[in-house]
């Protein structure tokens, strides 16, 4: 019961905030709506037994990435977006195509996938920090190391870009 209620609340919040991200004219409203999506997704991860991922979602996405976004938006003091001319194709076919996309995928999920489990909170808690750590440092050790190199490259890239700006 509580599961269903919690899922419905979070799903509604996520979808409303998702629409807000797309429809709001001001970047900061979009960014904050995206934080709303991320927080409700974190709750859904908890329901799915992924407690570590839920917390990582809040720390990495909510805390680091989105703070960076809001910081940049505030720094640039970016105003509201100007409505610009869209191509006739996007105007006519965009929305139907999107709805068709959602419909087809929803149909596929219901029809083609093998029978799916029902989610009960607490029935499977596999995603503890311990399990994730074990898998991360054994099976996925190489990707993990590669990812660390990727981050290093990203840092260097960001510094290089900022450096050029200062000169």
């Amino acid at each position: 019961m509580v599961d269903t209620v919690l899922f419905i609340i979070c799903a509604i919040v996520a979808i409303v905030c998702g629409f807000n991200v797309v429809l709001q004219r001001h970047p900061i409203s979009s960014a904050l709506s995206l934080i709303g999506v991320m927080s409700s997704l974190a709750v859904l991860y908890l329901l799915l037994g992924a407690e570590f991922i839920a917390m990582a979602q809040m720390i990495v996405y909510g805390g680091a990435v989105m703070v960076l976004f809001t910081f940049v938006i505030m720094l640039l003091n970016a105003g509201t977006e100007k409505a610009s001319s869209k191509s006739w194709f996007a105007q006519i076919a965009g929305l139907p195509l999107l709805l068709a996309f959602v419909g087809v995928l929803a149909f596929l999920i219901r029809a083609v996938l093998p029978p799916l489990a029902a989610v009960a909170f607490g029935s499977w808690v596999g995603g503890t920090a311990e399990h994730i750590g074990q898998l991360l440092f054994t099976t996925y050790l190489l990707p993990f190391e590669v990812i660390s190199v990727l981050i290093l490259i990203a840092i260097l890239g960001a510094v290089a870009l900022a450096q050029k700006e200062i000169d």
């Binding site: 570590f52 917390m55 809040m58 720390i59 909510g62 805390g63 680091a64 505030m74």
Partner: protein
């Protein structure tokens, strides 16, 4: 059903104690600061200004709640709400004592224990940046904006050393839940050195503790890192445009963050609720301390320096005597003594906060950033490296 009732009782108790501490922390801060600067501090409202917090609350509630016409209304109202609610959440997972048994009901002295407790605290402290940043941005005022930007930059930068300093005690405890971390620090080396994490073998976390506290000062925007609200540069920083209850909520969130982060520090480094001395002696420490306080009060009453001292000090003395008696009851000792030890550690750290505020000048902004990235960050990394190596070897 039982679970819900017990949880509700615990929530009420924790909330009441937390809010009272929040209100009186401000009084303590003003008193301590005053005495550091050879003043007397609040004296007028109630005996020794003890009713000052109430007066402040009444003042803030009855002030006009201004909504400046040029602000971004939605975010302007959202920001203080966000700041205060995020600041009040984390206390829910702080343990104040061991598992206790009252009338056959076993319960933890903690609202709830999470497997990922530490991560939750980190997540909330990461998200609480938005309160300050949004307040600064939505006020539509350049000083507020500067304050908000400084606050978010500072909190992002100091989040890193804070997290790295937290990792080393986690390596020693081998768990992320606060209760397990607290339990792992029970016992004594050679019968008298407590196994708190700052004394814990193989690598005592004393440096980790100092680094954590420095980062915590910055994380809570306190002196010497109170750049976001440096009044001689930025008027009052991100809350310049706020008045009445909205201003009060920023104030509350600052103090709530202080209490939370000192609680986290005492769980992670200072052995949570475990006493400094082995059990046969430590159960009587609270009683002795309260008795001593009562004696001091009676001594002061015997030679009054101010008007009405001969009335107020005996009353304080009697209060302390009652407290001493309560802490001497064997039945209550099982859960009051751990709570007292926990509170005394948190109180000591909070006093350090005020002490530092009374003594240190403010950093310059570039010094602040340079300090974080060139000193604090490498030091915490080194501390983590040594701890990890020693834990792996032994």
């Amino acid at each position: 059903m039982n679970f819900i009732v017990i949880s509700l009782i615990k929530i009420v108790i924790v909330f009441a104690v937390f809010m009272t501490t929040l209100a009186y922390l401000q009084w303590v801060e003003r008193k301590v600061l005053a005495h550091i600067q050879s003043r007397t501090g609040p004296l007028r409202v109630g005996p020794h200004g003890l009713l000052q917090p109430m007066a402040d609350v009444v003042k803030l509630l009855t002030k006009e709640d201004l909504l400046p016409p040029y602000v971004n209304r939605f975010f302007y109202v959202l920001a203080p709400f966000l700041a205060v609610s995020l600041a009040l959440i984390s206390i829910a997972i702080i343990p104040f004592g061991p598992e206790v048994e009252v009338h056959g009901i076993r319960t933890n002295m903690q609202i709830s224990d999470l497997n990922v407790g530490i991560l939750l605290v980190l997540a909330i402290s990461a998200v609480s940046v938005y309160g300050n940043a949004l307040a600064g941005w939505s006020s539509n005022n350049k000083y507020s904006l500067m304050g908000g930007l400084r606050s978010s930059a500072q909190m992002i930068s100091y989040e890193l050393p804070l997290t790295l300093a937290i990792v080393s005690p986690l390596l020693l405890a081998n768990h992320l839940s606060f209760r397990a971390i607290g339990d792992s620090q029970a016992g004594y080396y050679l019968g008298f050195i407590p196994r708190w994490n700052i004394f814990q073998m193989p690598f005592p976390q004393i440096f980790g503790f100092i680094l954590f506290m420095i980062a915590a000062f910055a994380e809570t925007n306190r002196v010497p890192f109170d750049l976001p609200e440096a009044e001689n540069e930025l008027v009052a920083g991100f809350h310049t445009e706020y008045s009445s209850m909205k201003f009060a909520s920023f104030f509350m969130s600052e103090y709530a963050n202080m209490i939370t982060i000192t609680s986290v520090a005492s769980v992670l480094f200072l052995g949570a609720w475990h006493p400094l001395f082995p059990a046969p002696y430590s159960n009587w420490v609270p009683t002795i301390v309260f008795l001593f306080a009562a004696i001091v009060c009676f001594f002061q009453a015997a030679q009054p320096r101010r008007r009405r001292d001969n009335i107020t000090f005996p009353i304080f003395g009697i209060v302390f005597l009652v407290l001493a008696a309560i802490w001497a009851v064997p039945f209550l000792q099982t859960f009051l003594v751990p709570a007292w030890w926990f509170a005394s550690k948190v109180g000591f750290l909070l006093f350090t906060y005020i002490w530092v505020r009374g003594t240190l000048p403010r950093f310059r902004y570039d010094q602040l950033m340079k300090f974080a990235w060139t000193f604090l960050f490498p030091c915490t990394l080194l501390n983590l490296l040594i701890t990890a190596l020693l834990v792996a070897v032994f």
